[in-house]
């Protein structure tokens, strides 16, 4: 974990650098602080034209409004279900595909890799229109499936690309030893390779989780009439009214939507950093 000792040499500038780092950290964290603070502020303070960066009388009113008025719990579960399904299924499928392209030599292998790379660049937002008609034709509009399926496809190319490095890093000798010991190919795949690649899967999952959890466009376009199938971003919009925004409600809903992701990030933080290092170093 130690940094190059060279960069640690005491220099007059270091204290300044540390002060700058702390100041920037505070500035970067401020919007999140303001979100949580505003979620706990009573209605009167929210609508004060002289907002204070603290509150002396925190209240749960905004949260109560969010959970009572708008079937918010249902939206939360829907979001969790969509993101959870995408994370698990895309991780499994990407693991298989990454294994195929790194541990086997076959015709069209390079072509496939280039296609996965190109697929990452496709602006998925541009595909909203054809996907809308596709989901309509399959009767999937207004269902969670219309959110799960596209996100599954969109998170795959990046996941495969990222997992490649992790699967490659497992030595061939280990694989041969497993076969010599009589392990079948499936057994090697799931009982030896899978656990070894797991840290990479975690790092990859962060990305598919975030992109799915964040989805606003598809939720807005594909869930048109059945709001019981809606997800969190749509619930948030309810509090943004044309004439007067319910800022307390918006901030409380935002906090509820952000906190699970924050927890997830903090939990996998180390693996994410090493995962990114491993994926791009390769």
């Amino acid at each position: 974990m130690s940094l190059p000792s060279l960069l640690r040499v005491r220099r007059p500038g270091r204290l300044a650098a540390e002060a700058a780092a702390l100041l920037i950290a505070a500035a970067v964290a401020f919007p999140l602080y303001w979100m949580v603070l505003s979620a706990f502020k009573p209605a009167g303070e929210i609508q004060s034209t002289h907002p204070r960066p603290w509150t002396l009388s925190p209240s749960l009113d905004s949260f109560r409004r969010v959970f009572q008025q708008q079937d918010f719990g249902r939206y939360f579960l829907n979001s969790l279900l969509v993101a959870g399904t995408v994370v698990i299924v895309s991780a499994l499928i990407a693991f298989l595909a990454a294994t195929a392209v790194t541990r086997f030599r076959f015709r069209f292998r390079t072509t496939l890799l280039i296609m996965f790379l190109v697929a990452q660049m496709v602006p998925v937002e541009a595909l909203t229109i054809p996907l809308f008609f596709l989901m309509r034709d399959f009767g999937q509009l207004n269902t969670l499936g219309s959110l799960i399926l596209p996100h599954l496809a969109f998170s795959l190319p990046f996941a495969i690309w990222m997992l490649r490095g992790f699967v490659k890093a497992v030595p061939d000798a280990l694989e041969e030893a497993a076969y010599i010991d009589g392990a079948s190919r499936t057994r090697f795949l799931w009982q030896i390779l899978f656990p070894l690649v797991f840290p990479g899967l975690v790092a990859t999952s962060v990305f598919s989780f975030i992109s799915t959890w964040n989805d606003f466009l598809f939720a807005k376009s594909f869930i048109i009439s059945d709001t019981s199938q809606s997800t969190l971003p749509m619930a948030l919009l309810v509090f943004l009214k044309p004439d007067e925004n319910d800022w307390g409600g918006v901030m409380a809903a935002s906090a509820v939507m952000t906190v699970p992701v924050l927890v997830f990030f903090v939990l996998v933080q180390r693996r994410l950093v090493s995962g990114l290092g491993g994926a791009v170093k390769d």
């Binding site: 920037i24 979100m35 990407a94 086997f104 229109i129 010599i180 079948s184 964040n214 924050l262 290092g277």
Partner: protein, 324 residues
């Protein structure tokens, strides 16, 4: 798909079950993995089915619709769809608003990418110069911003800059100045939010890259009397090149297709569409005014632009001799 992927699972046995060497197998030392037959295709099947159905086919459909007349009448089956050739593109390219939106998209994305890269790289270097506590503080704050969903980030930033109840105007003493009213200040506000939530990716990735550089190389440079700046320019930066390319390309792709921030922060594209970018423009054309063909044509334009970026990227990767 769940059925597909679980079908390969090994029988529910656990443990290695004791060593049972089979000398016969070792007669084929040329790695048994390589003689693969259909196995890799079996592993690829679920991924290819999904990508074919939900990525390749929709791209084909997008192209197709962009050549048809496809409005509410055709969608509901009231009128037959007719082939328009390049008619939709002609309509689009004659519309001065399209060119204005295209220009705004490119300039906005370029400024976002530059700002993200500059801030991300600068802070990555800063991270290497400080001790554990400030480093952890900055890292955590950045991860927080990164983890924040685009829609909540957008609402929070709009609230921070709200004319009546936001703290920013109070601190700056701007009274009830509205940031979303003017075209440039609205774009600037969105830029700040985009920068806030996308610099962490660059910072963390570049920081991981710097950490991966062997200490000896840097020490050797220092012993040879190189200055800090010189070390960065001649040693660190070249070794970071692959990472810098990755984050640049990711940022271009990401910033070029910003949707949520613009849609939420400027309320669907700003006053009289002054803050439209291609994505939001396509959405408005298709879903707000039912001109699906025009929306698709805009989608095709975006696709072509990003494909060009991808080709440049592939060439850069290839030139570095990286094996795929």
């Amino acid at each position: 798909m769940t059925a597909n992927s679980t079908a390969y699972k090994a029988p529910g046995t656990s443990g290695a079950g004791g060593p049972s060497p089979r000398p016969l197998r070792s007669r084929h030392p040329a790695s048994p993995v390589r003689r693969s037959g259909w196995t890799p295709w079996l592993y690829l099947l679920p991924a290819l089915v999904l990508l074919g159905g939900l990525l390749v086919y929709p791209i084909y459909q997008l192209g197709l619709i962009s050549f048809l007349e496809y409005t509410q009448a055709q969608v509901s089956g009231g009128e037959p769809t007719t082939f328009q050739g390049f008619g939709n593109y002609a309509t689009l390219f004659r519309d001065s608003q399209f060119w204005q939106v295209l220009l705004a998209t490119v300039v906005f994305a370029a400024v976002c990418v530059l700002a993200t890269l500059l801030v991300g790289c600068a802070l990555a270097v800063l991270l290497t110069r400080v001790r554990a506590v400030p480093r952890l503080a900055l890292m955590m704050a950045a991860l927080g911003a990164w983890a924040t969903p685009a829609i909540t980030g957008s609402t929070v930033w709009v609230f921070l800059f709200d004319a009546d109840f936001g703290p920013v105007n109070r601190v700056l003493g701007l009274g009830d100045h509205s940031w979303t009213y003017g075209r440039y200040s609205a774009f600037a506000l969105v830029l700040l939010e985009v920068l806030w939530c996308s610099f962490p990716f660059v910072m963390v990735t570049v920081y991981a890259g710097i950490r991966a550089i062997p200490t000896e190389v840097l020490e050797a440079a220092a012993l040879d009397g190189a200055s800090q700046w010189r070390i960065w320019r001649s040693v660190t930066a070249p070794m970071l090149r692959p990472i810098l390319i990755v984050v640049t390309i990711q940022s271009i792709i990401w910033d070029f297709k910003v949707f949520t921030q613009i849609y939420v922060m400027t309320n669907g594209g700003g006053i009289a569409g002054q803050n439209l970018v291609l994505n939001v423009y396509a959405y408005q054309k298709a879903f707000a005014s039912s001109q699906y063909s025009l929306g698709s044509a805009i989608g095709v334009v975006m696709l072509v632009i990003l494909l060009a970026v991808t080709l440049v990227y592939l060439r850069l990767v290839r030139r570095q001799g990286e094996e795929l």
